[in-house]
Amino acid sequence: MILAVTGGKGGVGKTTLAYNLAGALDAVVVDADLGMADLPAVRGPDLHDVLAGRAAVEETLRPGPVDVVPCGRTLAGARAADVTRLVDALAAVEQERGCVVVDCPAGRRADAGVPLAVAHACLVVVSPRAFALADAIRTRELARELEAGLVACAINRVVEPPPTKAIADALGAPAAVVPADPRVRRSVASERPVVAAAPQSDAAAAIQSLADRVPA
């Protein structure tokens, strides 16, 4: 199963949600944000090297509470990356580990489209603010054209009750509300997915409900 976590707009919390979702699914999370990687990285080969043909994806897999395929931080690496190599790379990780969550970049360029073309399903992350919804709808259209079925949308970092039904209707998928929680925000840097760090929290319950919607 390859699940793309996408959203169109930057800064809506795709990376955090992808990491925590991978934690709930016992999956590998692949940081495919080639230009603005966010998931923790250490020295060694990363996804830039894989997409430039310099490394096998298995070499980049970094074990942790959630196993991560990190991405490089350089513009040169992003420029050298052949995004079509992502097809084989994701397939290889899926074959080895079963379930892969791909943290997609913002926008509607090739680096955002290819993961959707490869993925079996996608999850759209949307901020509760109105302006973010337009980007989410465009991404949802792109996902539809590239045949990545939408399993759910996540209304992320919610403080006040959001218009859940309106968002779900606009995107045509069940919407789950993920409340704003500092433990979710810290989870990536501290490498403690919220389903493990705070299993009783509302945020963990929301992420678990999203994970339950992902077909095996």
Binding site: L34, A78, R79, V83, T84, L86, R109, A110, A117, L146
Partner: protein
């Protein structure tokens, strides 16, 4: 062979350009394989660097619907004759006739599952994600220079040296100049429109002479309408930004004590 094929070959600057026309006169969809007979690599049409669907190193596979006509083409470098004595390097062999052949043509079941979208198709359709070469090389173009200036002026906690401030000033000046120029243009249009609003015949004639014709006045009205909505949006955004800017409070002293 149940598919009609015709072609033309042009040679420009040492490259063969092969244009083919295919027609399926039958009533069923056919899958057609077209192979190049030219002695050289097939250079297929590309979108964003990715060959179009169906092309490979030696030719093209495509599906032609009932009575469908399709034009396809490719390029091939015309290699100089290797057997030549070298005195005339420009001599190239004539293109073989035919330059392309239909090597396979079979009806296909129209119930075939449609091809799933591929990564190559996504790249063809969507824009290039890669940062421009100039950014990576650090070569000096106006864009990168502007970016660098912005980046430098955005550095926080440098103690606000004079050079930083002048860089920020220069960049802000460039942006302000563009906005001022645009506002000046809008102002000129609005002035024209104001003079035409409820004007007497003499003023209206004078303004119309200034802007050209009655048709130009229609354009003017449309542009002023567009200006009005754009300016309202700008005003909303500007006032909300100003409000946000005023409410910020960067704890400079506390940050300085950290460094």
């Amino acid at each position: 062979m149940r598919v009609d094929l015709s072609w033309t070959v042009d040679r420009v600057d040492g490259v063969w350009f092969v244009a083919c026309r295919l027609h399926n006169p039958t009533a069923v969809t056919h899958r057609v394989r077209l192979d190049s007979c030219l002695d050289g690599p097939v250079l297929p049409p590309r979108q964003r660097g990715v060959p179009e669907s169906g092309w490979d190193a030696s030719g093209l596979t495509l599906e032609l619907g009932p009575d469908e006509r399709r034009g396809v083409g490719f390029a091939c470098p015309a290699l100089p004759d290797s057997g030549d004595d070298g005195s005339d390097t420009d001599r190239t062999p004539p293109a073989p006739d035919p330059p392309v052949v239909v090597t396979d043509c079979a009806p296909v079941d129209s119930d075939d599952p449609t091809s799933t979208p591929t990564a190559a198709a996504a790249v063809r359709r969507l824009g290039d994600h890669r940062p421009p070469r100039a950014v990576v090389d650090g070569t000096s173009t106006s864009t990168t220079a502007a970016t660098t200036t912005d980046a430098e002026s955005n550095r926080v906690g440098d103690g606000g040296t004079d050079s930083d401030q002048s860089a920020a000033g220069a960049s802000a000046f460039g942006e302000t100049a563009a906005i001022t120029a645009w506002l000046d243009t809008v102002e000129a249009r609005v002035e024209h429109a104001e003079r035409l609003t409820d004007s007497d015949l003499e003023t209206a004639t004078a303004v119309l002479e200034g802007i050209g014709s009655a048709a130009a006045a229609v354009d003017l009205a449309r542009q002023v309408d567009a200006d009005a909505s754009r300016l309202t949006r700008l005003a909303d955004r500007a006032s909300s930004l100003a409000g946000r800017a005023e409410t910020t409070d960067v704890p400079v002293e506390a940050l300085e004590s950290l460094t």
